[in-house]
């Protein structure tokens, strides 16, 4: 475990819930590790498993995807369920391919849960730090 290792983490958040929570965390001046960079989509239903692999391939050591709480918070009915189903299948595939599935984290964070967001980001950054940098042929691809 390299103490100087600063993981690179991509966070894909849905606009309506988790992005709002992140904005609220900002307005409330909650500080968290800068390792996490946020990319937003309107809904986690938009998240294509290709994005996750692309993130790992381009240098991410961890990926978090977070959206609205099931069963009924999703702004578009059930986009969060669609994402969850993809996540379950993708998670197992990652494991089979030799990537620790703990590197892909799935969360539900609503617009008012800025404190949960901070907690999740802090926790996940520590977890990935402990896991170390991702060492897998996926990193040697380039494109």
């Amino acid at each position: 475990m390299n103490d100087n290792f600063e993981p690179k983490i991509v966070a894909i958040f849905c606009y309506w819930c988790t992005t709002q929570a992140a904005e609220l965390a900002g307005t409330s001046r909650m500080t968290y590790a800068p390792n996490v960079k946020i990319v937003k989509t309107m809904c986690t239903g938009r998240v294509d498993p290709q994005f996750i692999l692309w993130a790992f391939r381009n240098g991410a050591d961890g990926v978090i995807v977070s959206g609205c709480h099931p069963p009924s918070d999703c702004h578009y009915e059930d986009g969060n369920f669609k994402w969850f189903r993809k996540y379950v299948l993708l998670s197992k595939t990652l494991e089979q391919a030799g990537i620790d599935p703990k590197r892909l984290r799935q969360e539900w964070i609503s617009a008012s849960e800025a404190d949960k967001l901070k907690k999740v980001i802090t926790e996940f950054t520590e977890e990935i730090k402990a896991l170390g940098p991702l060492k897998h042929p996926i990193r040697e691809g380039g494109d």
């Binding site: 900002g26 500080t31 968290y32 960079k37 294509d48 381009n58 702004h75 578009y76 986009g79």
Partner: protein, 652 residues
């Protein structure tokens, strides 16, 4: 032809520049591929900031803009408009948040600066793939739906109706007025609540622009901002509104000679008959028959003296639910609050010990139209000599509600005054802090202090019964640093405010976001307090968070103004983030149709492809994620844009 990108980095005073080295970031951005000009400015959202973009578009032939500042939620619109003024399609702009997502959340300056570089690089990579997006406009229906007819709903309804908009005011109780109709006097002026409320209620009834549906629920809302299709379910009151003349003889003639059933309006300290109105000045003055307690409904065999004595034969036991469909352009949610159920905090003995009341029960007791005719009485009918008021019940408490309910301190002071005034009892207020921060509030507090009300700073540990039906309060007196006891005749629990029990169901129907406690969420706590996160829906009153009547009325008028602004604008922009299907790539596999929650995509059998109705598309992008042929593209969230952004946050 290569893109020509302009990058604008906002200082936002010291909000960004105090943490992020904006000049270093500007220098970095200027070397990124396709970036033609990179600038910093103190406040990008200001006039000169926007002018800078407009000028640069012309001078440098820019065709893409990246603005690194606050958030898209706050100012996305501002910079899109600026681009438009400069002659660019507004969607060729990408906003990067280096404030909420960077400077405000990162401790270390170097780390914040590096993060800003990554985020802006991602924005630049992404914006290369932006395509001009055209939107259309839809006309806006000028009607407004208001859900909840308490003081907030009533106020908003009158403002809109007087402006010529037609309002559908839906209230699920049988009568309007909400919680305020239960109150006796209001602080700090000690105005009689009914006196100020009933003229407004009357105005609602008489205004030709207001259609009032009481004893009704909003069942379903279809459509989109400016064009909502609302289904209202009118529950049967079993008294015909069109025939009833409000004489209330049915209530007098009911086979139950005396009221026997707990009255919800009286918060449990009064009784009503199966046929009832909440109070004699209720609006609409049309009684409701409760099928759970009415003999006719329970046994099928009643002599129906109510009907027999009704001069217009308005009673109709066969009434059924009725569905009404209305079309509106805007919706205001003013669904109000309920009080904390004090039995949850067992130390107060509420519901077990005699003479432990809540403040809202005390309002009913003080109200001259209430169950005791305005007389303050113990349960055995005698007049209390010593009364305790305990503040912060259920509020400021991690075990129940962490927040402060804002109005209770003033209610406690008010009750102290009125009890002293009416029966001269000895009153003690057990408080944690006295929050008297409104206009005239501190002066009122002073007045009550001078009237001889006792104030004890400390928490109550428990209330136990003592001799002669009295109550002993065991409490910590922090100013004396001692645990003490006090015996009283009556305890009034100053209960906090909460969202209604069914807030989750209601918010689902209205498509609103709530906080974890259930308060309706505003779009921005400072800048958009009455707008919800869903287009076309506004929020007002205590449903958003506890507040007093002046603030409620102010918010209701604000929500009405927002609704009016939307409706008078006359048009709304269509959803920009809709999808398109490339028919040359579409294989007709129907996976998109299978995942679309809005049935916006249909199968064209002849061409063997899928086709989208962009009027129904809400822009979630699930079909884009799923399309196995790569034929679907979501405006502003295409695969290319997202792949580029993800790469950009990670590496060069």
């Amino acid at each position: 032809m290569e893109n020509r990108i302009g990058v604008y980095i906002c200082h936002c005073g010291t909000n960004i520049a105090g943490k992020v080295d904006v000049e270093k970031v500007r220098e970095y951005a200027s070397h990124l591929k396709n970036v033609v000009i990179a600038r910093t400015y103190m406040f990008m959202c200001s006039e000169p900031g926007q002018e800078m973009i407009i000028k640069d578009i012309k001078e440098y032939g820019l065709n893409r803009i990246v603005v690194a500042a606050c958030t898209e939620t706050l100012h996305g619109h501002t910079f899109r408009e600026a681009a438009k003024k400069g002659g660019l399609n507004p969607y060729l702009v990408q906003m990067v948040s280096i404030r909420e997502f960077d400077s405000w959340v990162t401790e270390n300056k170097e780390e914040a600066t590096e993060k800003a570089k990554s985020l802006i690089r991602a924005g630049v990579y992404r914006v290369n793939y932006h395509r001009p997006v055209e939107t259309t406009t839809y006309p806006v229906n000028s009607n407004v739906l208001i859900v909840g007819a308490g003081i907030a709903g009533i106020t908003a309804a009158l403002v809109l109706a007087d402006a010529g908009k037609h309002v559908y005011l839906v209230e699920r109780q049988g009568f309007i007025g909400g919680n305020m109709a239960k109150f006796d006097k209001t602080f700090p002026t000690l105005d009689c609540a009914s006196c100020i409320l009933t003229p407004k209620m009357s105005a609602v009834k008489n205004n030709p622009n207001i259609t009032l549906y009481t004893y009704s629920d909003v069942e379903k809302i279809d459509g989109f901002v400016g064009n909502f299709d609302v289904t209202i379910n009118r529950r049967p009151r079993y008294v015909r509104e069109d025939l009833c003349i409000g004489c209330l003889s049915c209530i007098e003639n009911c086979v139950y000679k005396e009221p026997k059933f707990i009255s919800e309006f009286d918060e449990g300290i009064g009784k009503r008959k199966p046929v009832y109105v909440s109070f004699p000045q209720a609006i609409p003055l049309v009684p409701v028959i409760d099928p759970e307690t009415c003999i006719q409904f329970r046994t099928g065999k009643c002599v129906q003296t109510c009907l027999k004595g009704c001069p217009t034969k308005a009673i109709d036991f066969s009434m059924k639910e009725e569905k009404v469909n209305v079309k509106v352009g805007a919706i205001i949610a003013a669904t109000g609050f309920k009080v904390f159920d004090a039995s949850r905090d067992s130390k107060y003995g509420y519901g077990k010990l005699p003479n432990v009341f809540t403040t809202i029960q005390m309002e009913r007791m003080l109200n001259s139209a209430g169950p005791t005719g305005g007389e303050i009485r113990l349960q055995d009918g005698s007049v209390p000599k010593e009364v305790a008021i305990i503040n912060c019940v259920g509020s400021r408490n991690e075990n129940f509600n962490a927040y402060c309910s804002r109005v209770c301190c003033m209610i406690g002071l008010k009750h102290a005054h009125m009890i002293k005034d009416r029966i001269g009892a000895d009153v003690t207020i057990f408080y944690t802090d006295i929050r008297a921060n409104g206009k005239g509030y501190e002066e009122f507090y002073r007045k009550i202090m001078l009237e001889g009300v006792n104030f004890v700073r400390g928490e109550v540990a428990s209330i136990i019964p003592s001799e002669n039906n009295r109550l002993t309060i065991i409490f910590e007196d922090t100013l004396l640093s001692r645990v003490r006891k006090k015996e009283v005749d009556m305890v009034i629990l100053n209960v906090g405010l909460e969202p209604h029990d069914d807030w989750e169901d209601v918010r689902k129907v209205l498509n609103l976001t709530c906080t974890k406690e259930g308060w309706l969420m505003e779009k921005h706590p400072k800048l958009a307090p009455v707008t919800s996160l869903s287009d076309g829906r506004f929020i007002a009153g205590a449903a958003q968070f506890p507040k007093d009547i002046p603030d409620t009325v102010a918010q209701a008028e604000a929500a009405a103004a927002e609704a009016m602004s939307l409706v008078d604008r006359g048009v709304v922009e269509s959803e920009p983030n809709v999808i398109s299907i490339d028919e040359n790539k579409c294989s007709g596999c129907k996976m998109c149709i299978s995942v679309c929650p809005f049935n916006a995509i249909t199968y064209n059998e002849e061409k063997n492809i899928a086709e989208v109705n962009i009027g129904l598309c809400k822009g979630c992008g699930a079909c884009n994620a799923v399309c196995p042929s790569g034929a679907i593209s979501q405006n502003n969230y295409t695969d290319d844009e997202l792949f580029a952004e993800i790469m950009g946050v990670l590496r060069e």
